[in-house]
């Protein structure tokens, strides 16, 4: 067992540890490049070609191609870099929340409002 492996398993939650950081490097590097508007344009023009330049794994590219948020996380994507990919798609964090929990966006937002009423 690696020394950096988290001792605690939290349901529905990934700790972005050394294992995920190594696994997701290519995918995260591509997403980091989207800080530049020029790179976002290049990705839009040719997704497959752009992804190839970063050496994405088959699993990573499939998750990108199918816009599969949980798949992107499982492939080592980190939410801070993935958020830049989501931005290209015009998705906000509530779209992502809905996609990951299997709720509609409206239901996801309503869940948060309800949590506020209980607070």
């Amino acid at each position: 067992m690696s020394a950096t492996k988290p001792a605690l398993q939290i349901p529905g939650t990934r700790i972005f540890d050394s294992e995920l950081a190594q696994k997701g490097y290519a995918l995260n590097k591509m997403c980091f490049s989207f800080n530049s508007a020029e790179n976002r344009e290049a990705f839009r023009a040719d997704e497959a070609g752009y992804a190839r330049k970063f050496g994405l794994t088959v699993e990573q590219y499939e998750a990108v191609r199918t816009r599969n948020v949980l798949g992107l996380l499982a492939a080592g994507g980190n939410v801070y870099y993935l958020a830049k990919f989501a931005g290209i798609l015009g998705l906000d964090v509530q779209d992502l929340g809905a996609a990951q929990t299997g709720m509609s966006k409206e239901d996801f937002k309503a869940m948060l409002v309800a949590a506020g009423k209980e607070a």
Partner: protein, 280 residues
């Protein structure tokens, strides 16, 4: 000698930038959040800080996984903002205070904090939005800044205990700066929220409130927890409370609560605001 006037901790949700740009402060969704700030503005008018030291976390704008510093201190004459890849409105450049930056760097390294120093550094929403919330009417931030960035992206992250010690050393370093300046500390992030995973949307108001209260009289309270335990209790991004903790730890002696506000939801986040004054 420099004097620390107090600290302001606030959430830094990117959507706040859009709300400011669209003038949504009185919109029913946003009003409970923005209504927290006027009492803090009144206090700022009273204490008139000359410099602000901002503890924040970069979200993949300046730092990538190729080189990920645990603690980074800006030492630039000016810091630029960017659209971060998803087109959020940018703010004008922020003036730096290289003299204080280098003083802090020298003092912290002498106190065994092995820092990364940045003479060029892009600052993201976690740095820029809190300053815009504190000085909303100025075209650009009227107070020069020193950014201090804590890694909350790639584990292992520094522990709460370590961030507390960093904040304490930072406060001592600032207090030994040989300039007659009033210094404000700002800590940004949190409170409980989780953007990623099947547990997305998780918030924990009971823990958030206990944490906010602890910062006044018992600031080391949260250092009893490991980072994984903090994530369990506050969500993957709730770990940003580390910046609140370090900001509080920078304050010497006793503090009093100037104002606080807590509201759910802003975007996916339980938003918090806590202004604390140093008691003379």
């Amino acid at each position: 000698m420099a004097r620390i006037v107090g600290a302001i901790n606030t959430s830094h949700v990117p959507a706040i930038g859009r709300a400011i740009a669209a003038n949504l402060q009185d919109d029913p969704y946003w009003k409970p959040f923005f209504d927290g700030f006027p009492p803090v503005h009144a206090w700022l008018d009273k204490v008139r800080p000359d410099v602000v030291v901002v503890l924040y976390n970069d979200h993949g704008l300046n730092f990538f996984l190729d080189k990920m510093p645990t603690f980074a201190v800006g030492a630039a004459p000016e810091y630029h903002n960017a659209d971060e890849g998803w087109g959020i409105p940018t703010l004008p450049p922020f003036k730096g205070v290289p003299g204080l930056s280098w003083h802090v760097i020298n003092e912290l390294v002498a106190r065994e904090f092995d820092l990364t120093t940045c003479q060029e550094m892009l600052v993201d929403h976690a740095f820029s939005l809190p300053l815009k919330l504190l000085w909303p009417d100025a075209p650009s931030c009227p107070v020069p800044t020193v950014p201090v960035c804590i890694n909350t992206v790639q584990y292992p992250l520094p522990s709460a205990r370590r961030c507390y010690k960093l904040g304490k050393a930072l406060g001592e370093a600032i207090a030994s700066w040989d300039e007659d300046k009033r210094v404000l500390i700002v800590g940004t992030g949190g409170l409980s929220h989780q953007l990623d995973g099947e547990r997305a949307g998780f918030v924990n108001p009971a823990f958030d409130k206990a944490f906010m209260d602890s910062l006044i009289d018992n600031p080391e309270w949260v250092t009893q927890y490991s980072n994984e335990e903090i994530v369990e209790k506050t969500g993957t991004q709730g770990i940003e409370l580390l910046m609140w903790l370090a900001a509080r730890a920078a304050l010497p002696g006793k503090v009093s609560r100037v104002h606080s506000n807590y509201h759910i939801p802003i975007s996916n986040t339980a938003s918090g605001l806590l202004a604390m004054a140093c008691e003379d």
